[in-house]
């Protein structure tokens, strides 16, 4: 009897919990559907934006994917961390909306490639979809579903506009939704393999309370005879960073670092280098401008260009820049880089949009003082035509789309490709972008037109403010990221073997930064390894892939 009473009371206690899991989705009389996230806010999808499969099912009181389990793999950074934090807060609501059982398999960055590639290339098919970095696309594409038809299928949540869907050439679609520089990342040729979601690119962040402070500017002028201002070249940036390094110009009691960059292995060290090195090595911004001046390889021979004079000079510059940061740079990973910059430890950092979002969160010491701009270019550039370094008075900014740009891809081995695509289309839909803009913790960086404030885009300042942004910071960041993506961006490296090429470069960079190798020696070694990788993977097929990513075919 006592046992029965106990069970009954336990059951009563459980009821509210079970009830809480339901009720995250509400269909309004006008046909719009409202979903509540785990964060405690909600988003309303107007009628016609979630696709006919979901909307018709809800109109009939059913669930479209009832009984189906969808398993997706992505980065593990926890429910309030980058990328996983963009999915997990919506997991329950999506399950209720779709009827799916959604399994989100979280893996640390180092395990992602082995887990994903092993699943695909041993034909295991344990996962229906992936949210990987786009640099893996060259390796993965043969085992992914081509999404061209899905992306304009009215049955699924809307990703592109109706006008974009009328364009038959896949390579031209999405140009009014995405920034043109970002659009090629998600496709291979004219085939789409990923639903655009995250939008990584790197810009230069600085502390306005230092760089735009009249007293600090006056002191800098007195000490160096030069102007302190948002740097117009990498040479200026280095001078200011090294001047401020080890000083306490605001009298906080703690000395500043000039720069705060990651230096650990597996923290995208190659990207932090390419951010700058590209502008030392190419005059006009890649092959897209018609002049065949590329960064990674000669597109005719696949001979590596990584050990050219521009890259060597850039690595010398990087070594000097890192010397004006923390001495323990080699232990700073991405998280440390973000956190220490928003804690106000350094004057400059070049990074992804994550810093913009994290700077506005509780505990940040730079909120309201966040300066942001396109990474400046180098005054010294290698002129490939003449084969020598030349001086330019107006350096070309280092426009780039570097980073992961995590986005959903459907496995060709999936038994439920439509249900999997529906999930990614839901996450990547324009309606959901409002939520991504609002919350910084999810790591879904801004970079689509819907993310930018007018006149560059259609986002509302209120959305940023609701997410805790300072008005000035929101405007600055929106403008800087837009300007960066609007420029002629450097090549995005996603050919087969990209991870292996990048690892060889990353190790050599760390060897140089820690004084084990000289820049020329290190990059000669990288070139040798790149040749070996290309030979093994096949020169012709690699050349074809490389030229395709450059738009040369």
């Amino acid at each position: 009897m006592r046992k029965a009473a106990f069970l009954a009371s336990a059951g009563l206690m459980l009821l509210p919990a079970v009830g809480h899991a339901e009720g995250l989705v509400t269909r309004h009389p006008d046909g719009s559907i409202e979903l509540k996230s785990d964060v405690g806010d909600s988003i309303t999808f107007p009628k016609g934006t979630l696709g006919s499969v979901i909307e018709d099912a809800w109109a009939n009181g059913t669930k479209p994917y009832d009984g189906i389990t969808v398993s997706v793999v992505t980065l593990n950074a926890g429910p309030r961390g980058a990328i996983s934090g963009g999915i997990l807060p919506w997991q329950k609501a999506w399950e209720e909306l779709s009827g799916q059982k959604l399994q989100v398999v979280l893996k640390p960055f180092n395990d992602l490639a082995p887990v994903i590639f092993n699943d695909l290339f041993t034909d295991t098919g344990a996962y229906d979809g992936f949210v990987p970095p786009m640099v893996f696309l060259g390796d993965m594409k043969d085992k992914l579903v081509v999404l061209n038809d899905y992306m304009c299928d009215p049955r699924f949540p809307k990703v592109f506009t109706n006008e974009e869907c009328r364009i038959s050439d896949g390579a031209e679609r999405g140009m009014s939704t995405l920034m043109p520089s970002m659009q090629p990342l998600f496709r291979w040729g004219s085939d789409w393999y990923a639903v655009p979601w995250d939008a990584d690119s790197h810009i230069l962040y600085y502390r306005k309370d230092l760089i735009e402070n009249p007293e600090v500017q006056a002191q800098y002028k007195a000490d160096t005879g030069k102007e302190m201002r948002p740097p117009q070249s990498q040479q200026e940036l280095l001078e200011m960073a090294c001047y401020l390094n080890g000083k306490d110009p605001l009298g906080t009691g703690k000395n500043l670092y000039g720069v705060m960059q990651p230096g650990a292995l597996n923290s995208q060290l190659f990207d932090w280098y390419k951010d700058f090195a590209d502008s030392w090595s190419t005059m006009v911004g890649g092959a897209k401008d018609g002049f065949r001046e590329t960064y990674h390889f000669d597109p005719d021979t696949m001979e590596p260009l990584i050990n050219g004079p521009g890259n060597v000079a850039a690595l010398e510059w990087m070594k000097q820049a890192y010397a004006c940061g923390p001495a323990d740079f080699a232990s700073i990973d991405l998280g440390g880089h973000f956190n220490r910059f928003v804690q106000g430890e350094a004057a400059f950092a070049w990074s992804a949009g994550d810093i913009a979002a994290l700077a506005e969160e509780e505990g940040s010491k730079i909120k309201g003082n966040l300066g942001a701009m396109v990474i400046p270019g180098s005054e010294e550039v290698y002129n490939a035509r003449d084969g020598k370094m030349v001086h330019v008075d107006q350096p070309r900014p280092a426009y780039n789309v570097f980073g992961a740009s995590w986005s959903g891809e459907v496995s060709a081995l999936s038994k439920n490709p439509e249900a999997t695509y529906a999930l990614f289309a839901f996450l990547g839909s324009p309606t959901m972008r409002v939520w991504n803009v609002k919350w910084g913790f999810d790591g879904i960086d801004i970079g689509q037109k819907a993310d930018f404030l007018p006149p560059n885009g259609t986002a509302k300042l209120e959305t940023y403010l609701a997410g805790g942004f300072d008005k000035g910071d929101a405007e600055t960041v929106s403008q800087a990221i837009h300007d960066n993506l609007a420029g002629p961006t450097f090549e995005y490296f996603k050919i087969p073997g990209a991870a292996e090429y990048n690892l060889a470069l990353e190790i050599a960079l760390q060897q140089t930064l820690t004084g084990q190798l000289e820049p020329q020696q290190a990059l000669d070694g990288v070139a040798e390894q790149w040749r070996s990788i290309t030979d093994r993977l096949g020169v012709d097929s690699q050349k074809e892939a490389y030229r395709l990513t450059l738009g040369l075919q």
């Binding site: 290339f121 650990a264 292995l265 080699a330 232990s331 930064l513 820690t514 084990q516 096949g538």
Partner: protein, 312 residues
């Protein structure tokens, strides 16, 4: 008195009658052995021969069929500086860390091998690092060695500045080795303490008639009697240390650069970043040979010493 006389025909009949029983017995034995045979074939022989087959193949990227490459992958090993760098580092790392672990483990065992208050508690505390997960220790090391971590705070308080542990190849190597030594010294301590406790007190009592010098007793009684256990401990630790991947990978990812790239990290990266499976398999076989040579050299050296001393 009756005598049982067995004729030849009866004996043959008895043997014949026993045969089915023996057959059943043999059959039962085979069934009992079957799991071990399956286990050995499935989890030892098959992976071994599969890896051998893979080492003769060349991978031209993921999803593409493997191509027969003959001994090309083995040939590549000899011209690859990364292979010899990782191998040299691994051998040196194993030699240094195991030597320190043995010396420290023996020292601690000698200290604790006596009666004192809270002896049980001290032994337990000394053993605790052994039960930590190596990967966890690696990540813990990131905090311990950080710029604002406890070691640097202490160093700054004493010397005025800390050490950027991970930004210098040698300090990073020391940082990794310290964690390894911290974790595995208790293992040596445990085995050697057991060895010390098995030495009869009578030997020391007899020795005290001649000398009271502890060092002489250690040199002439303790160490010779512990030698088999020391050899066993060195052997076990050596095999483990040569295979190390967890602590250096979690703490430094093998860096800075390749400063902490053990051979296992090299194989892992080759296999799972480059997906150059054939080359990684060939490297694994090279490593297997190296480990076998090192271990057998150690065993042969021990036998040679024994024979040589017996000859004396």
């Amino acid at each position: 008195m009756s005598t049982a006389v067995t004729t030849g025909a009866e004996g043959r009949a008895r043997v014949a009658a026993r045969r089915p029983r023996l057959g059943r017995f043999r059959s039962a034995k085979a069934w009992f052995l079957l799991p071990a045979v399956i286990w050995t074939c499935g989890f030892t022989l098959f992976p071994l021969f599969y890896a051998l087959w893979l080492s003769l193949q060349q991978s031209r990227g993921m999803g593409r069929p493997l191509e027969f490459a003959g001994l090309k992958n083995y040939g590549r090993l000899f011209g690859d500086d990364r292979v010899w760098g990782a191998l040299g580092f691994t051998l040196g790392y194993a030699a240094v860390t195991v030597a320190i672990q043995i010396v420290l483990g023996l020292g601690l065992a000698l200290l604790v091998n006596r009666e004192f208050r809270l002896r049980g508690l001290v032994r337990t505390l000394l053993l605790l690092p052994l039960f930590a997960t190596p990967v966890g220790l690696g990540f813990l090391g990131r905090i311990i060695y950080a710029d604002a971590g406890p070691i640097n705070v202490a160093l700054t308080a004493i010397f005025g500045s800390g050490v950027p542990w991970m930004s210098n190849p040698w300090s990073a190597r020391i940082a990794v080795a310290l964690l390894d030594i911290w974790q595995w010294t208790p293992f040596c301590f445990l085995i050697l303490l057991a060895g010390l406790q098995s030495i009869p007190d009578e030997l020391y009592e007899a020795a005290r008639l001649d000398t009271n010098r502890r060092f002489e007793m250690l040199w002439h009684i303790t160490l010779p009697l512990l030698r088999p256990l020391i050899a066993l401990t060195v052997l076990l630790r050596l095999v483990e240390a040569l295979k190390i991947i967890d602590i250096p990978f979690a703490l430094t990812a093998g860096g800075p650069g390749r400063a902490n790239e053990t051979f296992s990290i090299f194989i892992y990266r080759t296999a799972f970043t480059g997906f150059d499976i054939g080359y990684a398999s060939a490297a694994s076989f090279l490593f297997l040979v190296v480990v076998l040579v090192v271990v057998n050299a150690f065993i042969l050296f021990g036998r040679f010493r024994t024979v040589w001393q017996a000859g004396d």
